[in-house]
């Protein structure tokens, strides 16, 4: 079976299973809505859901962008200077050790109900995987390449930009893949804690009013968003890392 078709088959099987359980188990709709009911909600509340999806997608993308930029900057700075490395690495570890979900209420307090608190949330959980993976990649350049570059009288900056940086791209790619997978979590948790828009907000509202079908609809959209993001990041990395066969 071709790789491209396999996810769709898996999805079809999952939906069939869901349909069978919902119809045969006799569970009430507020516990487990039937697939056709959720589909109906998706159709009926299309505009409403689309509007909130847009908010969440913006948060995820901005979070991913800022988090990746900050993480990469941190990795490069640590590579440039051992002093910076000594000062930044505790912060790096702290950003990972700190339970980001626990400070979500604080972030909402500081950055408000709007998008910024969710973006900060996403940045906080993206920062570590990107910075750690990229820094590791920058440090572990093939020593032979560095020696060769040295005999070619390359400047320190030249070695960083033209040897270490491209050589670290596969490692950066692994970090970015993890980041793309966790970015939606940051945005959604941020929305749960306090917001006036977004899929997380839709889910909290629907949950409070026991409109489980609407919650499922939001959940399905969120899954689709996360999967699309993952696929796009993978596609981009594959283009960028055409030369590294094991990074696919």
């Amino acid at each position: 079976m071709r790789n491209a078709t396999r996810p769709f088959v898996t999805a079809a099987v999952m939906i069939a299973l869901w349909w069978a359980i919902a119809h045969l188990s006799g569970l009430p709709d507020y516990m487990l809505p039937k697939p056709e009911e959720v589909a109906a909600i998706l159709q009926k509340k299309y505009a409403f859901l689309f509007e909130h999806t847009l908010v969440t997608v913006s948060e995820i993308l901005l979070g991913l962008l800022c988090g990746t930029a900050l993480g990469s900057l941190c990795a490069i700075l640590m590579m440039l200077s051992p002093v910076v490395q000594r000062w930044l690495s505790p912060i790096l570890v702290f950003s990972q050790a700190m339970p980001v979900f626990a400070i979500a209420p604080l972030l909402v307090l500081w950055f408000g109900f709007g998008m910024s608190s969710k973006i900060v949330m996403a940045v906080l959980i993206i920062f570590f995987p990107v910075a750690a993976a990229f820094y590791d990649g920058l440090r572990r350049t093939e020593p032979g390449w560095l020696e060769l570059a040295q005999t070619m009288n390359t400047s320190k900056l030249g070695i960083l930009l033209r040897v270490r940086l491209p050589a670290a791209l596969p490692a950066f790619g692994s970090g970015l893949r993890v980041a793309a997978a966790v970015a939606p979590i940051g945005a959604i948790v941020g929305e749960w804690v306090g917001s006036s828009a977004g899929l997380g907000y839709v889910m909290m509202n629907a949950n409070a009013q026991v409109r489980t079908d609407e919650m499922f609809a939001a959940l399905l959209i969120l899954s689709a968003v996360a999967l699309t993001l993952w696929a796009l990041v993978n596609l981009m990395l594959r283009r960028l890392l055409f030369w590294a066969p094991d990074s696919h």
């Binding site: 093939e142 005999t151 009288n153 491209p166 030369w243």
Partner: protein, 269 residues
């Protein structure tokens, strides 16, 4: 054992007679004097003197771990010696005049073949010269693979690309650290000949653990052995490099060297 070999070799004066002189270039000779390398209390070598003749191949043969790679890195300026001096015969600094070939081809996997040849220009931020790079690729027979990625090449092609990259640098001094050890016997033989032809008239120091390679390529040949390592007197092989692997004189020298190295290896164990 060493003595028997060296006793059977001509003296320095007679070595000079079969110099295989071509037109001499302005490549400098390199004089290594009283060189010492030690890690902590462990002396790798000391009191090492070596003349690397101008415009010729000097091969240095030794078993692994004897310190020959370190010696090459010291000459390349990649590693600092514990003591001693390295100077060019013209008195100018060496560090901007060397090209280095390592044990691996060290091609950058994200650059095409022709971009790899021009690596030096790219790394220094100079203007690249694709015409010259193509000329080098023609010399090593890879002009039609100019846009291939290193991962699409065989081991021999990769090492030929590395030779083209070395040629592109047009440095008078070339330092090679077992550059052909990863190749199969037949590919190695061809690439050795290619290196001998294309790098002729440059000052070359080639380090190897392969007696055949040393005998084929070296105008002058030295053995580095023992702990702390000592350098043998120069050994000459009849004929001009690249010598044919079937050459009887070469085979005889190779057999003797093999014996010497085996003894050194056994003693070290």
């Amino acid at each position: 054992m060493l003595n028997t070999i060296f006793a059977s070799r001509p003296e320095e004066s007679s070595v000079r007679e079969n110099r295989c002189d071509g037109p001499m270039s302005d490549c400098p000779a390199i004089y290594i004097r009283d060189l010492k390398l030690a890690y902590g209390g462990h002396v790798i070598f000391e009191g090492l003197d070596l003349d690397i003749e101008a415009g010729r191949f000097t091969t240095l043969l030794g078993t692994s771990g004897v310190g020959k790679s370190s010696l090459l890195k010291i000459v390349a300026g990649l590693q600092a010696p514990t003591g001693g001096t390295i100077a060019a015969s013209d008195g100018k600094p060496i560090s901007h005049r060397i090209a280095y070939m390592g044990q691996q081809d060290l091609l950058f996997p994200w650059l095409s073949v022709v971009e790899n040849v021009m690596l030096g220009s790219r790394l220094r931020g100079d203007r690249r010269d694709p015409d010259r790079a193509m000329h080098m690729l023609e010399q090593v027979g890879l002009a039609d693979r100019r846009d291939a990625l290193p991962s699409q090449l065989s081991g021999g092609m990769r090492q030929r690309t590395a030779i083209a990259r070395t040629l592109y640098e047009s440095r008078p001094i070339v330092l090679m650290d077992e550059p052909f050890s990863a190749l199969d016997t037949f590919t190695r033989s061809k690439v050795q000949e290619l290196a001998a032809e294309t790098l002729a008239e440059r000052t070359v120091l080639l380090i190897t653990h392969d007696p055949l390679e040393a005998c084929r390529l070296g105008h002058r040949l030295f053995v580095l052995s023992g702990s702390p390592a000592k350098l043998s007197p120069p050994i000459s092989v009849p004929g001009c490099p690249p010598r044919s692997p079937e050459d009887l004189g070469l085979l005889e020298t190779q057999a003797e060297l093999m014996g010497t190295l085996l003894d050194a290896h056994t003693a070290a164990d």
